[in-house]
């Protein structure tokens, strides 16, 4: 129980320190940031020791998330409703030329081609990593959605669509060689 309270205290103190740092711009700020992150790392360590590493680390991270949201809510500013001005303090998404073939190519790049490249990288990892079979498969399996999602994000964002196509083809080719020909 003492350990849990210490862990909770470290979470709150760490977030409090970051909150204080956020609100000021004097010489103390870097130390508050450093101290905040140090306390959050300490909280994770404490929960890992108290509950066990496997469950303690995710529990600590969840607590940081929920306590952080609590701090954000407590910092709520209510302002009068107003209409948008022409010049807002925001960046707009880039305006792209809307040609149908670019749309089709972008969908193909983000979906099947990114997926294919990610799977080929996953297979290459599963075959070439010098680990036990199940470990290599697990790493390859984890890599697939991460890479697919990354590829999807990038190909949908890159304004130079042919560059994205070239990189995906290159990654797929290299992975294919590593997976099946080496």
């Amino acid at each position: 129980m003492v350990g849990t309270i210490a862990g909770l205290g470290a979470v709150l103190a760490g977030l409090g320190s970051l909150r204080l740092a956020w609100a000021r711009s004097d010489g103390l700020r870097p130390w508050l940031i450093l101290g905040g992150w140090f306390l959050l790392a300490a909280a994770i360590l404490v929960f890992a020791l108290v509950i066990g590493g496997e469950t303690g680390i995710p529990v600590a991270i969840l607590l940081v998330s929920i306590a952080g949201l609590g701090l954000v809510l407590s910092n709520r500013e209510v302002r009068p409703r107003k209409e948008a001005r022409r010049r807002e303090e925001v960046i707009d998404p880039s305006d792209r030329r809307s040609r149908w073939w670019r749309g089709v190519l972008r969908v193909l790049l983000a979906g099947p081609l990114s997926g294919l490249a990610a799977i080929l990288v996953g297979v290459a990892l599963a075959k070439q990593l010098p680990l036990a079979d199940v470990d290599a498969i697990a790493i390859g399996g984890l890599a697939v959605p991460l890479l697919w999602a990354g590829g999807m994000a990038w190909t949908l964002s890159d304004d130079k669509i042919l560059r994205a196509l070239a990189v995906l083809v290159l990654v797929s080719g290299v992975s294919f060689v590593l997976a099946f020909l080496v």
Binding site: P58, L62, L69, R81, A84, E88, G141, S157
Partner: protein, 510 residues
């Protein structure tokens, strides 16, 4: 205010990332919303199961003799149903304080679960209408299983991709970390909500879609990886990933005595609690006995210990003490649903998963709201899309509530049909009324349907049934219903004390 400590990100890069983020979010918004909301409900799947069976005998522990008897009862029921495919006894160590037995035949689709008492006697069928509907909505979108699982996996990839592009299109991630503005312009208000919920829940928002994508794509991706790694030997691949098995063999063979298997495992694993006892293809030479032990210190929650028809121990899946790869595979489900740890810590984890899961649905919804506000600000409003989005968002609780109501009343109404009809019906009023009126009307209907669910549950089982979890769920539903009503401004104002002109005149947006 604080100076930025993050390197300056070129606005052109941010614009490009935002374009990708926006395109992907809008393309998948409806599916992401449905999967996130149903997944949030399923965080409390065990509690929903208890709520649907509040009169099931409360049992805290089960001895070996009772387990053996429960398995025998299950095999008898399976034989009566004409199958020897699968019988699985679930104990109080598996999430709810009941004893139950499930019989299934994966060829014919037979799948029934029965409640047992503390002696292992059959009490009657276990009701799972609403829970089953929600599971199939989240896992398969009610599509054929293989296709549905793949589609849900793809939605996981799309959501994860949105998380990546969202992070890269957020140049003020630290500078705005604690800023939360309500009011002002609609777009900034929604952006603040979207960004704060996204940033503070980031670890959750990465882990949940990642594990969901892997679980959804597992058949496809792990199949390909295993085939590549084992040169097409799928049996070997299945054994490495899923634990040892016995080849299919329909020759008749006596069912072994499972009691010694249970006792030997208990002796070898004094920290484990028996969560499930299953037998596959019983009475044949291809039968296997699977015993799942739960260990609270493991993220994987249970590990499976497998025996053949002679009672010979074949091995485990390695989720508890196998190699890292086995443990990672075993942790995917618990991490995805927030089903890990024990006691009050497990309750806290579920509570946080509920809040962050709901936050993910709000993030999805606010993302669309930002796009709608941006279009309006640019002089290109999209009132039709705005109404359609409102109908989709608020049609869900109406659909869920109606399915729960029908399941509770035991009415012979197809759940999927009812859900689809109500979801479609939510769009219709949009043809005649404004977006605000549509939103208010659907929130009131949602609140009424949820209130109806509580009343129906109390009418059937009473205020305080055997399982107190039913009361907790009913109170939570009641609170949800009241919150939905309170979110409708005219209703809220009716119950608010009058304010002087000029004071409190600023109303938050609905």
């Amino acid at each position: 205010m604080a100076r930025a400590i993050w390197p300056k990100v070129p606005s052109r890069f941010v614009s490009a990332m935002l374009a990708g983020h926006s395109a992907l979010g809008l393309a998948f918004a409806a599916l992401i919303y449905i999967v996130c909301l149903s997944g949030t409900v399923l965080v409390v799947a065990h509690e929903i199961d208890r709520w649907e069976n509040p009169d099931a005998p409360i049992i805290h522990s089960v001895d070996t003799d009772t387990l053996v008897r429960a398995l025998d009862v299950g095999m008898d029921k399976a034989e009566q149903a004409g199958t020897h495919g699968y019988v699985n006894v679930t104990t109080p160590a598996d999430g709810h304080p009941n004893l139950s037995v499930r019989i299934a035949d994966f060829q014919t689709g037979l799948d029934e679960t029965f409640v047992l008492n503390g002696e292992g006697d059959l009490m009657g069928p276990r009701r799972d209408g609403f829970g089953h509907f929600m599971e199939h909505l989240h896992f398969y979108l009610h599509l054929p299983h293989t296709i549905g699982l793949f589609v849900v996996g793809l939605i996981g990839v799309a959501l994860l991709s949105s998380v990546w592009s969202g992070v890269f299109s957020h140049p003020r991630i630290f500078r705005d970390a604690f800023r939360f503005r309500r009011g002002g312009t609609k777009r900034l208000e929604e952006a603040d909500l979207h960004n704060r919920l996204s940033v503070w829940g980031l670890p959750f928002h990465i882990v949940v879609p990642l594990t969901g994508a892997i679980l959804g794509l597992s058949t496809f991706v792990l199949g390909i990886l295993a085939m590549a790694a084992f040169d097409g030997d799928l049996e070997r691949a299945a054994e490495v990933v899923g634990g040892p098995g016995v080849p299919h063999d329909e020759a008749v063979m006596a069912v072994p005595d499972v009691a010694p298997m249970i006792e030997s495992l208990k002796a070898d694993h004094p920290d484990g609690r028996l969560a499930r006892l299953a037998i596959r293809e019983f009475g044949t030479a291809g039968q296997t006995i699977q015993i799942d032990l739960a260990k609270a210190s493991d993220l994987t929650i249970t590990d499976r210990y497998i025996f053949d028809g002679n009672g010979t121990y074949l091995g485990s899946r390695g989720f508890s003490d196998g190699s890292l790869g086995n443990q990672v595979i075993g942790a995917l489900g618990p991490l995805h649903f927030g089903w890990f740890s024990k006691g009050w810590v497990a309750g806290v984890v579920k509570g946080i998963y509920l809040v962050l899961g709901f936050a993910l649905t709000v993030i999805t919804s606010s993302g669309v709201a930002i796009w709608i506000a941006r279009r309006r600000d640019k002089g290109k409003p999209v009132p039709g899309w705005e109404k359609a989005w409102i109908a989709l968002v608020w049609g869900q609780p109406v659909g869920y509530g109606a399915v729960a109501l029908v399941a509770l009343a035991g009415l012979p109404v197809p759940h999927l049909g009812l859900y689809l009809v109500l979801c479609a019906a939510a769009f219709l009023p949009g043809l005649f009324v404004s977006a605000l009126t549509l939103s208010r009307a659907l929130r009131i209907v949602s609140a009424a349907v949820i209130l109806g669910v509580v009343i129906a549950h109390i009418a059937r089982y009473g205020v305080l049934p055997a399982d107190a979890m039913a009361l907790v769920i009913n109170l939570s539903l009641l609170a949800t219903s009241l919150l939905l009503l309170a979110s409708v401004q005219p209703i809220l104002q009716t119950f608010r004390p009058a304010t002087k002109p000029g004071i409190g005149a600023e109303q938050p947006a609905e």
